[in-house]
Symmetry: C3
């Protein structure tokens, strides 16, 4: 069977900004995503607790499978997009069966 190489874009971002991030990647042509809520994290801008009372800083992990050129534009533009708040973005290679879905 012929399979298709795509890129997986992963974004870890505060829950309160998840919809903004989804709208943002959709504007590049991303047609689907998976969102994992209630994740916690720590990074270069400090610890963020998912069990924080206010939940203001709870994170989500957004996963999107898309074409390489779209993924590269998202990664490149993420530097400016997320300049002022905590978010991490990374790409990896995946292989799918139905290329027309991604």
């Amino acid at each position: 069977m012929e399979t298709h190489r795509r890129k997986k874009v992963e974004i870890v971002i505060e829950s309160v900004r998840a919809q903004d991030a989804l709208d943002w990647i959709t504007s590049y042509g991303v047609t689907g995503h998976t969102l994992i809520p209630h994740v916690t994290g720590a990074g270069h801008q400090g610890r963020q607790a998912g069990d924080d009372l206010t939940r203001l800083f709870e994170n989500v992990l957004i996963i999107a499978i898309t074409r390489e050129e779209i993924a590269r534009r998202i990664l490149e533009d993420s530097v400016q997009m997320f300049e002022n708040y905590t978010a991490i973005v990374y790409l990896s290679d995946v292989e799918v069966a139905r290329g027309e879905h991604f």
Copy 2:
């Protein structure tokens, strides 16, 4: 240290079909998995909300590490297996220390 290349199989599928999907990959010889519950998603077949009142369309993310030949058969057969409902399947490369476990 010698490490071992394996494939990661990821399946996003409705929660109500998770057990079917686990039984299905086990039938190929997959010996372990990780399941992330309560994920939400949107794709070519429309939005699926994890906070839906009925939870009928809540998704899970299943992750399994296995040998390449098994992963390829799962990816290939997934087209027919998931023909009639929303599921996405993709493969990627991983490296493990203890090859006998996967």
Copy 3:
């Protein structure tokens, strides 16, 4: 834009040992992580249910992006570190925009 290759380290481990695992990877120089709670799994040491009454055996998935040499030392040392209990560790390739953060 110049991007940077890093390794993603993923660790699936019992929730009660998550902090130990985080302290352990931090000791190698890992500077950030994402933790997904409440995951379930089954593997070569048997099934572990996230909805277990005691929650003793509920798992978490820890994701860390780091430099290759750190990731390789963690993978290698994980064999001894997790010799006596259920944990799985695997590496994969990722690409990031801001190398100084990982």
